[in-house]
């Protein structure tokens, strides 16, 4: 098996961009402290990112159109949340979520 130089260069260029995004904060924040306003901004990053990653997964989006909701995904939110409430275990939430979806599709 071989790999074409075009594919390899694409990987290299895109990978370098990614590395820059990930490494810059670790490189710079080793030396410097963040200003207070930025720290306050970053406090919101976890809850916001987790919400938007979860919520956007429930839809198929197309710019200029209303997002189409995937009702199967949306409904499985209920058993997954109930599991979350009772077990507080990520493993159980994932297992029950996946099993519920498989069950819905079977029916």
């Amino acid at each position: 098996m071989s790999i074409s130089s075009k594919v390899f260069i694409t990987y290299l260029v895109c990978g370098t961009g990614l590395a820059a995004l990930r490494l810059m904060p670790f490189l710079l924040l080793k030396k410097f402290n963040l200003p207070k306003a930025v720290v306050e901004f970053l406090e919101f990053v976890p809850i916001v990112i987790m919400t938007t990653l979860w919520f956007s997964s429930l839809f198929t989006a197309k710019q200029g159109h209303l997002p189409q909701i995937d009702w199967q995904y949306a409904i499985v939110t209920i058993p997954a949340l109930i599991t979350a409430y009772f077990t507080r275990s990520l493993m159980w939430i994932v297992v029950v979520g996946v099993a519920s979806l498989a069950l819905i599709r079977l029916i």
């Binding site: 809850i47 989006a61 997954a80 949340l81 994932v94 029950v96």
Partner: protein, 236 residues
Amino acid sequence: MNDVLDARTGVKDTLPTVLGYIGIGMAFGIIAHTNGFSPLETLLMSLMVYTGSGQFALVSMLPAGSSLLSMFMAVSLMSARMLLMCMTLAPKFKKEKLAKNLWLGFLITDETFALAITKLNYTKGKLNYDWMNASNIVAYAAWTLAGLAGCLLGNLVSDTKALGLDYAVIAMFLGLLYLQLITDQSLKIELQLIMIGVTMVLTYIGMIILPASATTIVVTVVSCLVGMGIKHVYFK
């Protein structure tokens, strides 16, 4: 989750995400196979361009003959949130050596970031290299191997959907969101609930008016700014 921060616990804490990686990774591999990528090309992409959404973009853009610049822009824009995630995590590893910091940063993903943030709530705000590295490596291995498996099995398995595995990663973010909500002390729970609502609305609007590659980063930045505003006005 508990307050132990060793490598073994790192592996254990990361196991729930592995199911998600298998589901999405296999799906990625199958699409790569369908679009004419060899197993080596598929594996190398996961190793070198380690980013879920960006890889899905690349497997369709590369065969379509997109320009290098447009592929670079798509991948970078989709992953721009990495900058914010790494800014949030980096201060926790200030005491570790620079090389270790960079190695950790190189392998941060949405999933390991979310796990680390949840872990902070159990460890009184502490993280260390051993735990984070173990978590990162489990994630990296699961993702790259699942992609390779998907590509190799591309002919046999055409439908990972029947197993419901496509929901694994969504369940994981929902679960981590819930755990974040009930354990995080840095923001009041009322404010967190408001932020979930605000983010859902902005995400919905974002999906309509923004190109798919920019939605997450734009919504994240705007929501965080809105959050700062709400905090200053109502939660002082």
